[in-house]
């Protein structure tokens, strides 16, 4: 079952990556990055069980923290620029 979960996680990561690549709005990309980050946390946790490495849990914990900080940071600097500068793309 763990292997099935790993494969499902891989597929989800691919789909999220595809959404990050096609956009179209910047928020879609932020959403995709957020999704990707959560899935990476899960992937590392699951891999820790698959490879029997308990140390992976620490890494997953760091990922969960850092992912939150970077999403907040992206949102902050995006709003910082003001809506008038962020309409559409060239």
């Amino acid at each position: 079952m763990i292997i099935a979960t790993v494969i499902a996680l891989m597929v989800v990561m691919l789909l999220a990556l595809a959404r990050a690549l096609i956009g179209p709005s910047i928020f879609d990309r932020i959403l995709a990055v957020n999704l990707f980050g959560t899935k990476t946390v899960l992937l590392i946790a699951v891999l820790g069980f698959l490879f029997e490495q308990p140390d992976f849990m620490d890494i997953a914990l760091v990922y969960a923290l850092i992912n939150f900080i970077s999403v907040i940071g992206v949102l902050h600097y995006f709003e910082y620029n003001g809506p008038e500068r962020n309409q559409g793309s060239p």
Binding site: I3, V6, M10, M13, L14, L17, A20, L21, G23, I26, R29, I30, V33, F36, G37, T40, L43, I44, L47, L50, F51, Q53, D55, F56, D58, I59, L61, V62, Y63, L65, I66, N67, F68, I69, S70, I72, G73, V74, H76, Y77, F78, E79, Y80, N81, R85, N86, S89, P90
Partner: protein
């Protein structure tokens, strides 16, 4: 299974890198760089490099995008339209093909008898348990066998922080009266502020855990410093740089940046006084392993203090510059 995961992650990395080269919206590029950091960190984890994965997760997916975003807010979001440079493309293709031909002579990925594993590494793996007495081989190489090397690296980090201060620290005009727009923009996000307030202390606590658990598991001064700085950066994003400066005295942070490096250097000098080599810890206690424990603990503390302080200094300096820019 391991190979499958490895190849999937590598392919995703290549696709992300191509998209980074292709896109013109630098905001999107930075976001993809965040994904790139996460991917390379998971790749390091699957290749058994837990310490490296730790660092790359905190740096590549956390600090690097944040610094890029501050810089982007100052310099502008879009690239000018550009053409594909065929000369550059040809040059890059030729070099790439030559390099790939060169890799055919490399020993196969993961082979245990590759030349890289036959010389110095076996000594570290076999002897470090007795000589240093701590389980994490990476920490014992980093902070004991090759401590002098690490001293150089920490000095580079310190010098980089000083250079950033020299370039951007002398602000034209007074930053104290800058329009701290970050405060206005984040004031609407009540939920975010409350949740982050709950999260900041556990992040700092976790950084300390990483700092002092580095001898037994993945972690150490470099990782802990970056995570600690990330907590303070989160605070400054949500409550403004002004509030951060009020909470944490910037003079003290600059002093601590130098103090960490000094702590490292002084430990080396003290070990000279006990009759050992520079940064040879064996004279600090009766038994060698105890002495090594003390030495590594102090060294890692110095590294952690310097890295955390420098990261905070860099971020605060950048944000100050952004506020001045807004005022103009």
């Amino acid at each position: 299974m391991e190979l499958f995961i490895d190849m999937m992650l590598l392919s995703m990395l290549a696709v992300t890198a191509l998209a980074i080269a292709y896109l013109k919206d630098l905001f999107a590029v930075v976001m993809l760089a965040g994904i790139y950091g996460l991917l390379s960190a998971s790749l390091f984890a699957t290749m058994d490099a837990v310490d490296v994965a730790f660092t790359e997760a905190a740096v590549g997916a956390g600090i690097f995008p944040l610094l890029m975003l501050v810089a982007l807010s100052i310099t502008g979001r879009y690239e000018r339209s550009r053409r594909v440079s065929w000369v550059a493309l040809a040059l890059v293709s030729i070099v790439g093909i030559l390099l790939i031909i060169g890799t055919v002579d490399m020993p196969p990925f993961g082979s245990p008898d590759a030349p890289a594993h036959t010389h110095v590494a076996p000594r570290y793996i076999e002897q470090s348990g007795e000589e240093i007495g701590i389980p994490n081989i990476v920490t014992s190489v980093l902070a004991s066998y090759r401590a002098f090397d690490t001293f150089g690296e920490v000095a580079v980090v310190f010098v980089a922080g000083v250079s950033v201060l020299a370039l951007l620290g002398m602000a034209p005009g007074d930053s104290r009266h800058g329009t701290d727009r970050s405060l206005n923009s984040m004031r609407q996000h009540k939920v975010l502020r409350v949740v982050s307030k709950i999260l900041i202390p556990p992040i700092m606590l976790f950084a300390l855990y990483v700092q002092f658990h580095g001898e037994y598991g993945p972690g150490g001064g470099f990782q802990a410093g970056v995570i600690f700085a990330a907590a303070i950066i989160l605070y400054s994003i949500l409550f403004g740089v002004g509030a951060t400066k009020k909470a944490i005295n910037q003079g003290l942070v600059r002093f601590l940046a130098a103090f960490g490096l000094l702590l490292y250097g002084i430990t080396g000098v003290l070990s000279l006084l006990t009759g050992e080599n520079y940064l040879g810890y064996n004279g600090f206690a009766e038994t060698a392993t105890n002495a090594q424990h003390i030495g590594i603990l102090v060294i890692e503390l110095g590294v952690g203090i310097t890295v955390a302080a420098i990261m905070i200094v860099i971020f605060v300096t950048f944000s100050d510059r952004l506020n001045i820019q807004e005022k103009r």
